[in-house]
């Protein structure tokens, strides 16, 4: 038996199940990824707003869990580059996110993203506008958490000046037209002039960001700038709120996955030969408090900041295996030195855009203590084909923040990169060997892809092997769209409150029903109460009654007769009244031995009740003195419907070993008491076949006592001769009792009340029908007049 793995919980299910037996998820093949199919990139951010609330909550919980795990992972000691698990964990971290490109809603969660609105999706104009406006400072809380190291005093004048600039600018930061790009042509000219960057203008973004942040050195955060939403965030306020509620730690820990798109530069970086690790940090001078003032990260409390972020902002007390990773920064310094940039120039001077040296100030911090050999030409090419991660741009900002930071460049040079960044460095060399083997084992554990295996390709993210983004825009035909629109209208129609009918109408309905009930109860109760016997009974036999007396007369003395109880307690009163005259006549005339068989579980009790109410088992002279076990037997319940009936007809003792009759042909007659045409039909049908195949049964009569509701549908069997006689309802029973001069039974007591009930029905239906017919015509006429 083949198994189907549940796409949701991952557990095995038998392949014949349509839904998972553990979680109920559909196991339809459409829901899983088939062999040979390429996974499609899904922009789940677009789907977020339409998710139901419960799913949002679940996703948020999963997200928080993931972020907590990421934070824990970040606080773990960094593993050296030769340790594959760490490398893989970095990849996994990138893959377990829902998409390769950072979703808008995720970027909204990250405070760092919020502080750097230049996302990859923004047009170049937006990017350049950032340069001009020089906005996007750190979150407000970052400024509020400025430590008391004395920086406030030194920066206050600058802050005031910055405030005066940022307040008006921040309002229009994200509204800049694409034409703003032209304004920054001069600003980015130094970068464009460089050969590596001129090959791909878009890859300059990281440098431009560096410049932009460098210009914002020491600028505090204003509420206005923080409050500025990015365009994609407008529709995702709920997620932003979630992010705000989730606390600083979550926001910070969410940063690594948010920078997935920027990992492309790491892909290029992976090809760079890794220099030997230098453990210079231990000999570095004590960290100045000013080194903590690193833009938005400075505002994050130490206790909530992941270790990797801490290590990125301050010197570490352990050897940094990732120190060589900053070699590319040295390269930047060398390229800048070609332009005669003064390394020791104060930062505030370099911030002036008019000086045309925007990048020198921030790069000098990285190049000051460079001890790594210069890069070769191809290395530089690969370097400038990357985008700078946000965290690094923040670091650059922090480095350029104060002159002191430039002086501690040797501390920052070996600064530790986040572990996941380090792990990504030797991507090209490791992926080929190790990840290929892991590819078959990676199963998504969360998010909408949970349970899928190998949905996200393991190709190095950001490389040319990265699968091309596939638009998830629904390719729907016009017919499908029309259907969707129709469904939408239907759903919308369901939400429209329906006008409630006028209360007087409902009240009149209830009053009419109550009036009818009162009439019936009073009239019938009165007739029954006085014990009326006024209504005559017809002495004429209808056709379907004529054969019954003959059948009764043909039954041998003391022969067994099968009585099938095929009715429910609801109609016990009618069936007892209808069957009474027949059974009473039989017992009086032929003294048969009744065998009661029931096709309803309650029938076993109804058989005894029948015998008691029609007075057969009462002692003489009130009854006929029939005794259970002597004159009649109750062999119980026969389940199985038509199969049970067939089995009983073929082999009575086989089905009912305790039956007194060994074979069905031993029954002198069969009396079927039924209130359902369906179950009654089963007996007639199966007996018909048995009579055709057993000559001994050919003369076995079948009599039917039917409820008035089943009588009409059993009538064709009487007409066809399959049933020898039928009593339908108490109207037939009353006549049968009267004609055969049987002992007066229940039916006579009911007959007058029955007649009164018929009369009331005729009158009420006639009068009410006419009234409502006229009222209906008038109402419809009035509606037509009103249009």
């Amino acid at each position: 038996m083949a198994d189907i793995r549940c796409p949701n919980c991952g557990k095995n299910n038998p392949d014949f199940l349509d839904a998972c037996q553990f979680c109920g998820t559909s196991l339809e093949s459409e829901s899983s990824l088939r062999i040979g199919e390429s996974p499609k990139k899904i922009r789940t951010s677009e789907l977020e707003p339409i998710l139901p609330q419960w799913l949002k909550e679940v996703r948020q919980q999963n997200r928080e869990t993931t972020e907590e795990e990421a934070a824990e992972a970040a606080t773990q000691p960094q593993v050296r580059k030769d340790e594959a698990p760490d490398l893989l964990s970095g990849l996994f971290q990138a893959e377990t996110s829902e998409e390769e490109e950072i979703p808008d809603w995720l970027s909204a969660i990250s405070p760092l993203r919020e502080s750097s609105p230049v996302s990859k999706k923004e047009s170049p104009a937006d990017f350049f506008a950032q340069f001009e406006k020089a906005s996007e400072p750190a979150p407000e809380e970052t400024a509020e958490r400025e430590d008391s190291s004395g920086m406030e005093e030194t920066q206050e004048p600058v802050q005031e000046d910055w405030f005066s600039q940022i307040l008006p600018q921040s309002e229009t930061l994200f509204q800049e037209a694409p034409g703003e790009e032209a304004k920054f042509g001069a600003a980015v000219a130094p970068f464009e002039a460089e050969p590596p960057t001129s090959s791909e203008a878009e890859d300059l973004s990281w440098l431009r960001e560096l410049e932009a942040f460098a210009k914002q050195v020491e600028q505090p955060v204003t509420e206005a700038s923080v409050a500025e939403p990015s365009a994609p965030q407008e529709d995702l306020d709920w997620l932003k709120n979630l992010a705000e509620a989730s606390g600083v730690q979550q926001e910070t820990s969410a940063t690594p996955p948010s920078a997935e798109e920027d990992l492309s530069w790491l892909d290029k970086l992976g090809s760079v030969p890794e220099p030997p690790v230098e453990s210079a940090t231990e000999s570095s001078p004590p960290v100045s408090p000013f080194t903590r003032r690193t833009g938005p990260l400075a505002g994050i409390e130490d206790n909530v900041m992941p270790d990797w972020l801490k290590s990125a902002l301050e010197e570490t007390s352990k050897p940094s295996p990732s120190a060589p990773s900053l070699d590319w920064l040295n390269l930047q310094e060398e390229t800048k030195s070609q332009e005669d940039v003064q390394v020791s120039r104060p930062v505030d001077e370099s911030l002036d855009l008019s000086q045309g040296e925007p990048a020198s100030a921030k790069l000098e911090a990285f190049s000051a203590e460079s001890k790594t050999p210069p890069f070769t030409g191809p290395d530089v090419d690969s370097l400038f084909n990357i985008e700078l991660p946000d965290w690094l741009s923040q670091t650059g900002e922090s480095v350029a923040e104060t002159p002191e930071s430039t002086q501690t460049a040797e501390v920052l040079t070996p600064v530790e990169l986040p572990s996941w960044v380090q792990a990504m460095r030797p991507v090209e060399t490791v992926l080929e060997s190790s990840l290929a083997a892991e590819a078959e084992q990676i199963v998504e554990k969360e998010g909408p892809l949970a349970g899928f295996r190998n949905v996200i390709p393991l190709a190095p993210i950001g490389s040319s092997r990265r699968p091309k983004p596939i638009s998830l825009k629904l390719q729907a035909t016009e017919e499908q769209q029309a259907g969707a629109a129709l469904l939408e209208r239907l759903i919308a129609g369901e939400t429209v409150p329906q006008a409630i009918k006028a209360v007087p109408f409902l009240t009149s309905q209830r009053m009419l029903r109550l009036a009818l009930t009162a009439i019936f109860l009073l009239v019938l109760g009165a007739v029954l109460g006085v014990g009326s016997r006024l209504l005559p009974v017809s002495a004429l036999f209808p056709v379907h009654l004529t054969g019954i007396s003959n059948v009764v007369a043909s039954i041998p003395e003391n022969s067994p007769v099968l009585v099938v109880i095929d009715y429910e307690p609801s109609l016990a009163g009618e069936m007892e009244a209808a069957a009474g005259p027949l059974l009473d006549q039989m017992a009086l005339a032929r003294h048969p031995i009744f065998t009661f068989l029931s096709t309803s579980p309650n029938g076993t009790a109804l058989a005894e009740r029948l015998m008691r109410n029609i007075g057969i088992n009462k002692p003489i002279p009130d009854g006929l003195g029939y005794q259970l076990g002597t004159n009649y037997f109750n062999i119980g319940y026969l389940p199985g419907g038509s199969a049970g009936v067939l089995g009983f007809l073929e082999d009575v003792r086989g089905v009912m070993p305790w039956a007194q009759v060994a074979d069905f042909s031993n029954f002198a007659a069969v009396v079927l008491l039924t209130d359902h045409p369906e179950s009654g039909r089963v007996w007639v049908e199966q007996l018909e076949w048995l009579k055709q195949n057993r000559p001994s049964l050919a003369n076995q009569p079948l009599l039917v006592v039917a409820s008035a509701q089943a009588g009409p549908l059993m009538q064709p069997y009487v007409s066809a001769g399959q049933v020898e006689g039928m009593i339908s309802g108490i109207s037939d029973a009353a006549r049968y009792e009267f004609v055969n001069s049987s002992r007066p039974g229940i039916v006579r007591a009911y007959w007058d009340a029955f007649g009164a009930g018929l009369m009331m029905a005729i009158v009420l239906i006639t009068m009410g029908g006419f009234w409502n017919l006229i009222a209906g015509f008038r109402a419809r006429g009035a509606e037509e007049e009103q249009g």
């Binding site: 309650n602 119980g636 007409s719 066809a720």
Partner: protein
Amino acid sequence: MIIEVISGLIGFFLTIMIFSYLIGDNPLFRIAVYLFIGVASGYAAAVVWHGVLMPKLFTPLGDPNQLVLLIVPLIFSFSLLTKFSPRISWMGNFAMAVLVGVGAATAVGGAMLGTLIPQARAAMDAFNIRAIGGGANALFALMEGTIMLIGTVLTLAYFHYGAKRASDGTIKRNSVLEGLAWLGRIFIAITFGVLFAGVYMAALTAMIERLSSLINFVKGLLG
């Protein structure tokens, strides 16, 4: 005697509680209905246990000769209990397959041999002159047989839903069949009118029985 009084008293109050539904849905009505369902189900379970499972399944297990034949229904019966667990409910499919297969076969055999052929033959026999005899009764019988045959055919025509797509794209029944179906509606309306009257008479008898028992109980209490 005391048991009869208590029984009558309970039946009296339960009847009143059910009749209270005519005023509207209320807790008394619900109590009566839920109590009834519980008692009826418990009684049915006891009947099935005592009347079917014990004598037909468990008691014969002591007989080695029957053990072989009963081992399969025993396993099947227990497998039906797995229907409570979605994980292993598939085990009960075999028992259900046997139950459905046997039931379908008996229904097919019964419908064919017990209804289709005999009723068709009866419709034809209505025109058997030899069987009918002669005289006015024969004429009446022929007329009756003709009307019944027409009614049968028209009713079946009404339930024939075969249709074809017209040239304009609309789906329509054959015009002849459409006319026959309309006439079939007349016979169906007549038939349902008779059935309606039958249901009413059955319900009326049930009400009479209830009222009669209430009155008899009150009369018995009053002496």
